[in-house]
Amino acid sequence: MLTYQFDWSVVTSGKYFEWLVSGFMVTLKLSVVGIILAFIVGLLIAVMRMSHFRPVRWFALAYLEFFRNTPLLVQIFFWYFGSYKILPQAVNDWLNSTNFEFAAAVIALTIYTSAFIAEDIRSGVLSIPKEQMEAARSAGFSYLRSMQYIILPQAVRITVPPLVNQFLNLAKNSSLAMTIGVMELTYQARQVESYTFKGFEAFTAATIVYLVLSTSITALVHLYDKRVLNPSRAV
C-alpha cells in the first residue's frame, strides 16, 4: 500500500519553485559558458595536436591524455580545493571576493570537455581530403590560415553530431558542481528535498528541467547547422 502523499505544488509555486528556478539559471549559465569555452579550447588543442612542431604536439597529447583519463569530480575538487593553494595571497583574496565556486566549476568542465571535443574535431580534420589543404596552400594561404579558413570550417561541419554529444555531456556534468557548493539545479533540488522531504517531486522536477535543457541544446545546434553551417546540404 502506497502511503506517500504526492504534493506537486511544492515544486510548481512558492519559495521552493523559486529555488529551482534560480538553480536552473545557474545550470544554464554553467552550460552556456562551459560549452563556448570548451569549444574554443578544444579547437586550439586540436590544432596543436596536429602541429608540425613537436613540443606543441606533445603538450596537446599530454593535455588530452591527462584530462580524458581522470575523473571529472577529482578535477573539480582539484581546481576548487587545490589550485588556489599555489597562488599568491593577493590573487586568493580576489578569488574569494568573487564567485570562486562557479569559476572553478567552469574551468573544470571546460578543460575536461575540451579534451573530448579536440579529439572529435581532429578526426573531423583527418576526414577532409588532403586536396583541400593543397588547394588552400596553392592559393598562398599559410598552414594555419588554411586551417582557419578552409579545413576547420569543413571539419566542424561534419563534427556536429559528436559535438552535440559533448555539449550534452557538459550540461549534464554541470550537476557535479554542487559538490563544491555551486547552487545549480541539482543542488537546489537537494535543498528542496531537505526542507520538504518531497524527494520524488523535487528530483522529478529537476529531471524534467535537465531533459528540456538537453533537447533545447540539441535543437539549437541542429538549427544552427541547418541555417548557417550547411545551408547547401540536401535535407
Partner: protein, 244 residues
C-alpha cells in the same frame, strides 16, 4: 619566368624527375604531355612547391625555390593552380570560393573583391551561379569556377594539372575554351593535358615526357607532324587510335 636546371626528384627509389632542364618565358603557353606515370604532374607541382625538388635549381618569377629565404606563400599567391579534381571549397558558395583569397591574402575590400569575382564569372560564363555551392554544379562548371578562383589573385603564372581528365566528354570543350581565352593575354601557362587538339591550337611549345625525362621539346606543328623520339611517336599513335 620559370627555369628548371638539372632538377631531380625521387619518391623513395623511384626517380620521378630526371635531370629536367626547361625554360618557360613570360607569356608563353607550354603544354606538357606524356604517358601516365611519366612525371608530368610531379613536374608541374614542383613549380609552386606542392612537391619540393631534391636536386638542381628551380627559379620561378625570379625566386629560387631552394633558397630558404624565399617566401613560398608569397610566391604561391602569384601562381594560379588548377587541379584535375577542381578542389573547390565545398563549404563556400561560388562567390565565396572566388573572393576568399583576394579578401584574406590581398586584403582587398569586399565590394571590390565581389565585383572582380562577378567579372571573372561572366568571363567563364557562370555569372548566374554566384550563390550556388560546388556540389550543385556540374564538373565542367566546377572547373570553370576553379579557373576563375585562380584568376582572382591576378597571377603571373597559371598551372593546369590535367584540368579536363575528370570531366565527361561533353564538358571538356567549355573548359578548354576558357583556357584558350587566357592564352596570349600575357599570362604564362603550363598545361599538363592529353588534349592534343588544344596543344596543337593553343600551345606555343610542347614538351613530351616519359619516365621522368623530357624527351622532346618542340613547336606544336613540328611535334605533331614529325615527332623525333620513338616513344613520342608511339604515344601520339596511341592517342589517335587507342584501339591498336
Amino acid at each position: 619566368m620559370i627555369q628548371f636546371a638539372g632538377v631531380h626528384k625521387w619518391f623513395n627509389q623511384l626517380h620521378v624527375l630526371n635531370d629536367i632542364n626547361l625554360r618557360i618565358t613570360p607569356g608563353e603557353v607550354l603544354v606538357v604531355c606524356g604517358p601516365s606515370g611519366s612525371g608530368k604532374s610531379t613536374l608541374i607541382r614542383t613549380i609552386n612547391q606542392l612537391e619540393p625538388i631534391d636536386k638542381g635549381k628551380l627559379v620561378v618569377d625570379g625566386m629560387d625555390l631552394l633558397d630558404k629565404k624565399t617566401d613560398i606563400n608569397k610566391l604561391r599567391a602569384e601562381i594560379g593552380f588548377v587541379f584535375q579534381q577542381f578542389n573547390l571549397y565545398p563549404h563556400l558558395s561560388v562567390l565565396g570560393n572566388i573572393t576568399l583569397a583576394p579578401l584574406k591574402i590581398r586584403k582587398m575590400p569586399k565590394k571590390e573583391a565581389e565585383e572582380q569575382a562577378m567579372t571573372l564569372l561572366a568571363r567563364v560564363g557562370l555569372a548566374e551561379k554566384r550563390d550556388a555551392y560546388p556540389s550543385q554544379l556540374s564538373g565542367g562548371q566546377q572547373q570553370r569556377v576553379a579557373i576563375a578562383r585562380a584568376l582572382a589573385m591576378k597571377p603571373k603564372i597559371m598551372l593546369f594539372d590535367e584540368p579536363t581528365s575528370a570531366l565527361d566528354p561533353e564538358m571538356i570543350g567549355e573548359v578548354l575554351a576558357v583556357m584558350q581565352g587566357l592564352a596570349g593575354t600575357g599570362i604564362t601557362m603550363v598545361v599538363v593535358t592529353h588534349e592534343m587538339g588544344f596543344a596543337r591550337e593553343v600551345a606555343h611549345r610542347v614538351a613530351f615526357m616519359d619516365h621522368g625525362v623530357v624527351l622532346e621539346e618542340a613547336k606544336p606543328e613540328e611535334f605533331f607532324r614529325n615527332p623525333q623520339h620513338e616513344r613520342a611517336q608511339q604515344f601520339l599513335k596511341q592517342l589517335l587510335s587507342p584501339m591498336h
